[in-house]
Point group: C2
Chain length 114, copies 2
DNA sequence: TCAAGTACTTACTTTGAAGTAACTAACGAA
DNA sequence: TTCGTTAGTTACTTCAAAGTAAGTACTTGA
């Protein structure tokens, strides 16, 4: 009984600690890579620009994903107290460091997936 | 009216064609990277070995993921007509070519994610 | 004759990510 | 005084991925 509990606990921790799983959970969603990709080639983008640039995303989704990315310290949000509102998003250094990964994924995907 | 239809259609196609999105959809699930990772270091594994090696996966999930990976031509399934059954899984060349990507993801994740 | 071993399948339920649609605040312009 | 603009929020629904639990086939060994 006690043994079984320990095994379950251990398994849970191991699954949580796999770096690839963590990466996929945190950056591997439907929209995050696309947002990062756009910011890699555009430096600064406003909310509406991102909204227009990403086909099919809703404002709710965009706002949510941007919050997530900010929490992960991958993007930087800069808000100006003007009306109508103006908010700028750009990659942090950490965010920019994803370029290599995304590029390599893109190339592999183009060569190997339909 | 006609214009609007065309825009929708175009957006749909664009979203479908993003190579990073395609990659994430096809290889970015919860289990596939882990399976590939294991086969990168083990060359040949049997069903039960994979089952035991992967914490928390169910037989149903494992079987399903292996089928998916086989369809993508990333792994090779070899079944022997013996009893009890014996089935071997190994990476194809295409599967092995994911090593670079997974390694780079792993390193980045270790350095940048919790 | 019954359990053990292997590689699954089937049926059902749960979960969470994503989608949809409408609403909001604040101000300047017409 | 209503409209347009920007960057969101809120409430609700949908759907596919994942989880759970049990069953299956076939044969050997005790």
């Amino acid at each position: 009984m006690k043994t079984e509990e320990k095994i379950v606990e251990k398994k849970y921790q191991q699954a949580k600690e796999c770096p690839i799983t963590i990466f996929m959970e945190q950056i591997g969603g439907k929209w995050k890579p696309v947002i990062i990709w756009l910011l890699l080639s555009n430096e600064v983008m406003r909310f509406n620009e991102l909204d227009k640039a990403i086909d099919g995303i809703s404002q709710k989704m965009l706002s949510q994903q941007l919050k997530d990315l900010e929490k992960l310290n991958l993007i930087d949000r800069k808000s100006y107290p003007v009306i109508p509102p103006k908010v700028e998003y750009r990659l942090t250094e950490k965010g920019k460091s994803l370029k290599e990964i995304l590029t390599i994924i893109m190339n592999w995907s183009n060569q190997n997936l339909r």
